[in-house]
C-alpha cells in the first residue's frame, strides 16, 4: 500500500498544470481516487453536509445490487442446465452463469468507463463515479445471451447520447441503464424479446429437452396460458424463472431494496408507490376481467418480469426521479400503473416497466414543478388570509 502511495506521489507532479502530462490529469485523478480515498472535500459555501457523498451512494447501490446479481449469475446457469436436463452441482451451475455474465459486466464497464474517461479528458473534468452503478445495472437488465457487441453499442449510446450530451452524471434526463436496454429493444428486437433468448444457450440450439419452452411468465401470461399454479408463483418470487440476468428474483431484489431504504440511498416512497400503482391497477383490471390476463391476482404483477427490479433500482434513481415528496408518490404511482397497463393492454410489448419508467423520467420535472407551484399558492393563500385578519 505504502509503495503504491509513494509511486502515485512521485508521478503526481508531472500531471500538474503546465507540466508535460497535464492533459492526462483527469485520468490520473480518477485512478488516485479509486485507489485512495481523496482528502479533499467540498470547500466554501454554507451547505449542510453529511457523510453521504456520490462515492458512498454508489458503493451502497452496488452492495444493494449484489444479492440480485449473484442470484442472477446462478440462475443463468440453472436455467441453462434445466433446459438441457442435466443434473450438475452448484459450482458448475454458478460457473456457467459466471462465464456468461462476467464478459457482459466487463464489456459494459470497459465501454462505459472508456467513454467517461474520454469525455472527461476532452472536457478537462475529473472522471466521476456515475458509471460505477450503471455498469452493473446494464448487464443485469439484458438477456444472458445478448451478443456482446450489441451490449457495447448500447452502452456507448446510453453514455454518450443519454448522459454526456446533457452534461454528464446528474444532468441526464433518462436513466442511462434503461436507455441502453431501450436501445437494444428497438434496435435488435429479435435478441431481447420472444421465448428463445431468456435462457442461455437456447437460441438456435437443438439439444433442448422436450416440453421446455423457455418462455418467461410474462410471455406465458401474454399468450393466455393462465392461471399460474401456486408452485409457479413461488418460483416467480424466489426467481427460478427465465428472464433478464438480474431481474428474476423478487426475494433478492427485496433484500437490496431494504438496504437502500435503510441507508436512505433509495427512496422508499417511490418503491412503495410503484408497487401500489401496479397493485391497484391490477385490481382495476380484475374488476373489468375481460380476459384471463386481466383476472390474474394483482400481486402476481409485482412478481413477474422486471417490475420489482425497476421499482427498487431504476425508478429510484435520484437523478431522473421526482425530487419533492408529493411528487415522488405521483411519479411512482404512475410508473406502476402504466407498467401494468402496458402489459395487459398493449399487444406489442409484453413488458411495460422499461417504457413506463423512461416515460415518467420525462415527466418528473413537470410533476415537481406542479407540486412546488401548488405549495407556493397554498402558502400564499394562507399568508393573504392572515393579512386580512
Amino acid at each position: 500500500m505504502k509503495s503504491l502511495r509513494n509511486f502515485l506521489d512521485n508521478i503526481k507532479p508531472s500531471f500538474e498544470k503546465g507540466k508535460r502530462l497535464h492533459f492526462l490529469y483527469s485520468t490520473f485523478e480518477a485512478f488516485e481516487s479509486l485507489l485512495f480515498v481523496p482528502k479533499t472535500v467540498t470547500g466554501g459555501g454554507c451547505h449542510v453536509r453529511d457523510a453521504i457523498d456520490l462515492k458512498r451512494i454508489m458503493t451502497v447501490m452496488i452492495a444493494a445490487l449484489t444479492p440480485a446479481l449473484l442470484f442472477g449469475i446462478w440462475n443463468v446457469g440453472f436455467q441453462h442446465y434445466l433446459s438441457i436436463n442435466h443434473e450438475v452441482d452448484f459450482w458448475s451451475i454458478f460457473g456457467y452463469g459466471l462465464g456468461k455474465v462476467l464478459p457482459m459486466l466487463a464489456v459494459s464497464y470497459i465501454v462505459g468507463l472508456g467513454v467517461e474517461f474520454a469525455v472527461a479528458q476532452i472536457r478537462g473534468h475529473e472522471v466521476n463515479e456515475g458509471f460505477l452503478v450503471s455498469g452493473i445495472l446494464i448487464p443485469m437488465i439484458m438477456p444472458p445471451d445478448l451478443p456482446l457487441w450489441m451490449l457495447a453499442l448500447a452502452t456507448a449510446f446510453a453514455v454518450i447520447i443519454g448522459k454526456e450530451v446533457f452534461g454528464g452524471t446528474g444532468m441526464n434526463i433518462f436513466n442511462p441503464a434503461l436507455l441502453a436496454r431501450a436501445f437494444v429493444f428497438f434496435s435488435y428486437p429479435s435478441h431481447i424479446s420472444g421465448d428463445a433468448i431468456w435462457v442461455s444457450g437456447l437460441f438456435g440450439s437443438g439439444e433442448v429437452v422436450d416440453g421446455f419452452s423457455g418462455a418467461t411468465p410474462l410471455a406465458r401470461a401474454f399468450a393466455g396460458q393462465l392461471p399460474f399454479s401456486a408452485m409457479e408463483v413461488e418460483n416467480m418470487f424466489w426467481g427460478f424463472i427465465p428472464g433478464s440476468v438480474g431481474e428474476t428474483s423478487t426475494a433478492a431484489i427485496l433484500l437490496g431494496a431494504a438496504l437502500l431504504v435503510f441507508t436512505g440511498v433509495g427512496s422508499g416512497r417511490i418503491m412503495l408507490s410503484v408497487a401500489a400503482g401496479g397493485y391497484l391497477t391490477g385490481m382495476l383490471f380484475n374488476l373489468i376481467g375481460a380476459n384471463d390476463y386481466m383476472s390474474i391476482p394483482a400481486y402476481q404483477h409485482l412478481l413477474m418480469g422486471g417490475f420489482a427490479f425497476g421499482a427498487a433500482f431504476m425508478a429510484t434513481d435520484p437523478v431522473t426521479s421526482s425530487q419533492t415528496k408529493a411528487g415522488k408518490w405521483i411519479y411512482g404511482f404512475l410508473i406502476g400503473a402504466m407498467a401494468v397497463t402496458i402489459r395487459v393492454l398493449n399487444p406489442a410489448y409484453p413488458e411495460g416497466m422499461m417504457l413506463a419508467i423512461l416515460f415518467m423520467n420525462v415527466f418528473a420535472p413537470l410533476i415537481d414543478h406542479c407540486v412546488v407551484q401548488l405549495h407556493i399558492r397554498r402558502r400564499l393563500g394562507r399568508a393573504k388570509q392572515a393579512v386580512q385578519k
Partner: protein, 213 residues
C-alpha cells in the same frame, strides 16, 4: 451600371454559404420534419433534395420578379399560390417519371409547401433582391438542405438496411440469419434516431461555426 459577372464573389457566397455555415437545416433549423421523414433510404432523400431545390429556386425567381408589384398585405397569399403551383408541378413530374419513388415519398412532396425553407427564403431574400441572386440563393439553400438529407439517409440506410441506393453493401453472409454475427439496427429506421443523427450533425456544425468557443 457595370454588369456583374455570374460568379462574382458575392454570388458565389450566396451559393456556398448555405451549404455549411448558414445551412438551412443545421444552422437555421428549418425543414427538420421532412428531413426526418424521407431519410430512411438514400434514393427518396436525393429525389426530395432535388425537388426542394427546384421549388426553392424557381419560386425565389418568380417572387423576386413580382416583388415590386405585389401589395405587401397580400404577399403571403401570392407566395402560397406560386409555391403550391410549383409543388403540384414537381409532384406530377415525379408521378410521371419516377412513380415508385413518388409512392415512397407519398405526402411529403405535397408537404414541400409547408417546408419553412421555401417560405423563409422568399421572405428573407427573394422579396428584397433581383431574380438572379434570388435564383442562386434558392439553389444554394436547396443544396444545403440536400446535403443534410443525403448525409442522414446515408447513415440510416447503411446501418438500418445494410444497403446504399438499394445495393447491398454489408454482405448477407454477415447476418445472424446466415450464420454471421451482424444485425441491422432497427432503431436507425425509426424517426427518433433520425432526430439524434440530425442533432449530432447540428452539434458538429455549431462546433465548426465556433458557437462553443
Amino acid at each position: 451600371m457595370e454588369k456583374e459577372p455570374l460568379f462574382s464573389a458575392k454570388n458565389l457566397k450566396l451559393l456556398t454559404d448555405p451549404l455549411a455555415r448558414v445551412n438551412p437545416v443545421t444552422a437555421l433549423v428549418l425543414g427538420v420534419c421532412s428531413a426526418l421523414a424521407v431519410t430512411v433510404k438514400l434514393e427518396p432523400a436525393v429525389v426530395m433534395a432535388i425537388s426542394v431545390t427546384a421549388v426553392v429556386a424557381v419560386s425565389n425567381v418568380i417572387m423576386s420578379a413580382l416583388r415590386s408589384t405585389i401589395p405587401n398585405r397580400i404577399r403571403i397569399i401570392v407566395q402560397l399560390v406560386v409555391v403550391s403551383l410549383l409543388v403540384i408541378l414537381v409532384d406530377q413530374i415525379l408521378r410521371a417519371f419516377a412513380y415508385s419513388v413518388s409512392k415512397q415519398l407519398s405526402v411529403f412532396v405535397g408537404l414541400i409547401i409547408t417546408n419553412c425553407i421555401v417560405m423563409g427564403r422568399i421572405e428573407a431574400f427573394a422579396l428584397g433582391n433581383k431574380p438572379l441572386p434570388a435564383f442562386i440563393d434558392g439553389i444554394g439553400n436547396g443544396l444545403g438542405y440536400g446535403i443534410i438529407l443525403v448525409t442522414v439517409s446515408f447513415f440510416r440506410e447503411l446501418l438500418g438496411s445494410g444497403t446504399l441506393w438499394g445495393y447491398r453493401i454489408i454482405p448477407s453472409s454477415f447476418y445472424v440469419a446466415n450464420g454471421g454475427v451482424y444485425e441491422n439496427n432497427g432503431l436507425v429506421i425509426l424517426p427518433p434516431m433520425a432526430l439524434i443523427l440530425l442533432g449530432i450533425i447540428i452539434w458538429i456544425q455549431n462546433y465548426k461555426n465556433g458557437r462553443y468557443s
